[in-house]
């Protein structure tokens, strides 16, 4: 008796056209006629745009030198940016006092890193220091007038430093105002609610430029003559109001996402309105909207460029003013590319961070 053992022959490897590089290409770039045409158009665009741009910015560019004579090649002349970099960073701040600006920004950098990185000790203490002590230190470092630091008037502030100051103060003050407005908008008190709604809708309905015009032209009329405040502070007030309205809407989104049971439970435990808000609702709501807060900060950071229209010298305005230097005519593209890359790197990394947070915070709700 013979036993027929039928064992399946081993499977053949997949055809060469569907695996590896070729398979990937076929699948992702040339899966159909239309797709192939699109791919070719895309490749053509890349070929036309990328090599000239890279050549201009890197391989054919001039990097070293101190005068215009150093710009000899066809590409970009980064000497222009190099020569003026201090002005781009600090505006007209006296060079002997640069260390103050550097100290203030390094401090806030360390503090924020401390608060953002997981597993650093004493977060509450550092947080309280950042909120209550640091602003005072920063004020005296930037403006001076105490501890033997000479006064630097605000019209000398400029460049990236001014951009960062405007963005961070705008954020710092608009945050608490925004929370109060958001709570007001959800309040059961009709007057508090309507005041918040009117405030939020008003500032959200008008462009930032008109707000800045208002703060530079109308605000001096609103206060007694002996109390007049300088241009930078007026712009800051405008930005803070404008930003608070946006912040309020972000926070409201978080408050709405908290189930009603939370506030009912807090009430059942006998917590007062403010206690239930501070200990139960807001910690959860704010955690939910951290990505949204980062996004409004990115928007504010980009919007600070608008202060150049009312005559403040932020990064873009300083660079724009440098184009008028008769010794350096015709380097506007280099200047714009420099400013654009500063903003792009900051905004892009912040938006990536906010996406990362969104993923990290989302895990709690994943099924």
């Amino acid at each position: 008796m013979t036993v027929h053992v039928t064992s399946p022959s081993p499977s053949l490897p997949p055809p060469a056209s569907s695996v590896g590089v070729i398979g990937w290409l076929r699948e992702n770039l040339f899966s159909s006629v239309t797709n192939s045409i699109f791919t070719l158009i895309g490749l053509f665009l890349i070929y036309k745009l990328v090599p000239p741009a890279v050549n201009w910015a890197l391989f054919q560019a001039d990097w070293v030198g101190t005068t215009r004579d150093a710009c000899t090649s066809d590409g970009a002349c980064w000497v222009f940016v190099g020569v003026r970099i201090k002005q781009f960073l600090f505006g007209f701040y006296p060079p002997s006092e640069y260390w103050r600006v550097v100290t203030a920004f390094s401090m806030v950098g360390v503090l924020i890193a401390w608060l953002l990185i997981d597993r650093t000790p004493k977060k509450a203490l550092v947080g309280a220091f950042t909120i209550f002590v640091y602003p005072v230190i920063a004020y005296f470092l930037f403006y001076g007038g105490a501890f033997g630091l000479p006064v630097v008037e605000t019209y000398k502030w400029g460049g990236l430093m001014l951009t960062l100051i405007l963005a961070t103060t705008g954020m710092f003050f608009s945050f608490p105002i925004g929370i109060i407005l958001a709570l007001g908008r959800r309040s059961s008190m009709p007057i508090a609610k309507s005041i918040s709604v009117v405030f939020i809708e008003f500032w959200r309905g008008v462009p930032l430029i008109t707000v800045l015009f208002m703060s530079s032209v109308m605000l001096p009329m609103f206060i007694p003559e002996e109390m007049q405040i300088d241009k930078l502070l007026r712009a800051m007030i405008g930005i803070i109001f404008f930003q608070s309205a946006y912040m309020a809407e972000v926070v409201r989104g978080g408050l709405q996402a908290i189930p009603k049971g939370q506030s009912e439970a807090a009430e059942a435990l006998g917590l007062s309105y403010w206690k239930s808000m501070t200990f139960v609702i807001l910690p959860q709501a704010l955690k939910l909207v951290i990505p949204g807060i980062v996004n409004t900060f990115i928007a504010l950071f980009k919007d600070t460029t608008l202060v150049l229209i009312i005559g403040l010298f932020d990064l873009l305005a300083v660079v724009q003013a440098a184009f008028a230097d008769p010794k350096w005519l015709g380097f506007s593209v280099e200047g714009y590319v420099f400013v654009a890359s500063v903003y792009w790197v900051s905004c892009f990394s912040m938006s990536r961070y906010s996406q990362h947070l969104e993923k990290k915070l989302h895990t709690g709700h994943a099924r």
């Binding site: 992702n28 770039l29 899966s31 797709n35 699109f38 791919t39 895309g42 490749l43 665009l45 890349i46 059961s188 008190m189 009709p190 007057i191 508090a192 005041i195 809708e201 008003f202 959200r204 309905g205 008008v206 462009p207 930032l208 430029i209 008109t210 015009f213 208002m214 032209v217 109308m218 001096p220 009329m221 609103f222 206060i223 007694p224 003559e225 990115i298 980009k302 919007d303 460029t305 608008l306 150049l308 229209i309 873009l316 724009q320 184009f323 506007s332 593209v333 714009y336 400013v339 654009a340 903003y343 792009w344 905004c347 892009f348 938006s351």
Partner: protein, 390 residues
């Protein structure tokens, strides 16, 4: 003892408390406005500025670069407001049109199964979204358009359109005597198409009979006006720009300020619209597409009947808020001198008259009116489409 507990219970009554806080709030608000008002009056008196809107009927005495209605130095300040408003509306409308096209293209391209195309769209979105709009406007205006050749060396397209440092020169259509008949035919065709579509849908719902709407619409809206146009003897001629001396005469001129603003606004807003479109399409559950395919619907029908209606529910509210942002951002025109509302009215007119409060208030109310009416409309629309849901 009993007195104090009574007092306590009064204070711990929620209604009394909220009443107390609100009275306090109103008092603070009244005090704040009284402070501002009295200061303003005192300051105005000290500077010798008279209030009121009388200045609107005074002679303006300055020219405006671009105006959709006739305007010269002898017109009033009131008319500068209208000119500025129209210019704002022009750039907003054109910006919305181009940003929508760019945004929808990039948004769909980002979801394409072609790896290269989706990456390219991603690069476009991430690149232009993260650079301030004002910088982009400056770039287009000062770095790109200022580098264009002088009028004598203009770039031309078939000798009818020209591009140079002074602007873009296009042929201008000159309408013949009976051209308005063509226009009316077109309007009537659109109205007729609308009613036929309603009838066709009703008939299909009742009897299941389909009606070729596409052919009818094209025939009515495009072919019919064209027939009328040629029947009337083609009453349309073109005014082609020509180089006279150092500049072009005739035709339509698009000033470089408008071009720069328009390009920057459309490219910048386009990135946000692309993200809106992408999130809208992704928000439609893949089960919906699968179910529709399982019912035997063709791929194009799946898109038209299942995916797009549901994606639109997510897209339209966000899209409107992007449109509003574009309208508000068009005020950046003032930085390059495009004569929009803010540049002409809150800029030149304010400097000439010094009526800061009236002018800023008028400018802000225009934007406020646009924003609030559109968001009101949006809330109404939102409620309407929410009802469609289960």
């Amino acid at each position: 003892m009993s007195n104090s507990s009574q007092k306590q219970s009064w204070w711990y009554n929620a209604r009394n408390r909220s009443l107390f806080f609100q009275v306090l709030l109103v008092a603070m608000l009244v005090g704040f406005f009284w402070f501002i008002g009295s200061n303003t009056l005192a300051n105005l008196e000290k500077r010798g500025i008279s209030t009121g809107f009388g200045f609107l009927s005074l002679k303006a005495g300055f020219g405006i670069l671009q105006s959709l209605i006739p305007f010269d130095e002898s017109n009033t300040f009131g008319r500068t407001f209208v000119v500025g408003l129209l210019n704002t509306m022009l750039v907003s409308a054109l910006g919305i049109f181009f940003a929508t096209i760019i945004g929808f293209t990039a948004g769909v391209a980002r979801l394409s199964n072609n790896w290269l195309i989706s990456k390219l769209a991603g690069v476009y979105v991430e690149m232009f979204r993260n650079i301030p709009l004002l910088l982009q406007i400056f770039f287009w205006y000062f770095a790109v358009l200022r580098a264009l050749p002088s009028p004598r060396q203009s770039w031309s397209a078939g000798d009818i359109a020209f591009l140079n440092i002074r602007g873009m020169y296009l042929p201008e259509p000159i309408l013949g005597p009976h051209f308005n008949i063509v226009g009316w035919t077109f309007v009537l065709a659109i109205v007729a198409t609308f009613f036929i579509r309603r009838w066709a849908k009703k008939r299909q719902d009742e009897t299941g009979q389909q009606f070729n709407m596409w052919a009818t619409a094209i025939g009515l809206i495009i072919v019919l006006p064209l027939l009328v146009f040629f029947a009337l003897g083609a009453p349309l001629s073109w005014d082609i720009p020509e180089l006279h001396g150092f500049n072009f005469k005739g035709g339509m001129t698009i000033i470089p300020e408008l071009t720069a603003l328009l390009v920057a606004l459309s490219v910048y807003t386009g990135t946000f619209i692309a993200e809106v479109v992408r999130s809208g399409i992704l928000s439609v559950n893949s089960g919906q597409t699968e179910a529709a395919s399982a019912l035997g619907l063709h791929r194009s029908k799946v898109l038209k009947l299942v995916v797009i209606p549901q994606a639109m529910r997510v897209i339209i509210p966000q899209l409107t808020s992007q449109y509003l942002n574009l309208v508000k951002n068009s005020s950046l025109a003032t930085a390059i001198g495009y004569p929009d509302l803010v540049a002409v009215f809150a800029g030149t007119t304010l400097n000439q008259t010094g009526q800061a409060i009236e002018i800023i208030a008028m400018t802000m109310s225009v934007y406020l009116f646009i924003s609030l009416s559109i968001s009101g409309l949006m809330n109404w629309y939102n409620k309407k489409i929410m009802l469609v849901e289960r």
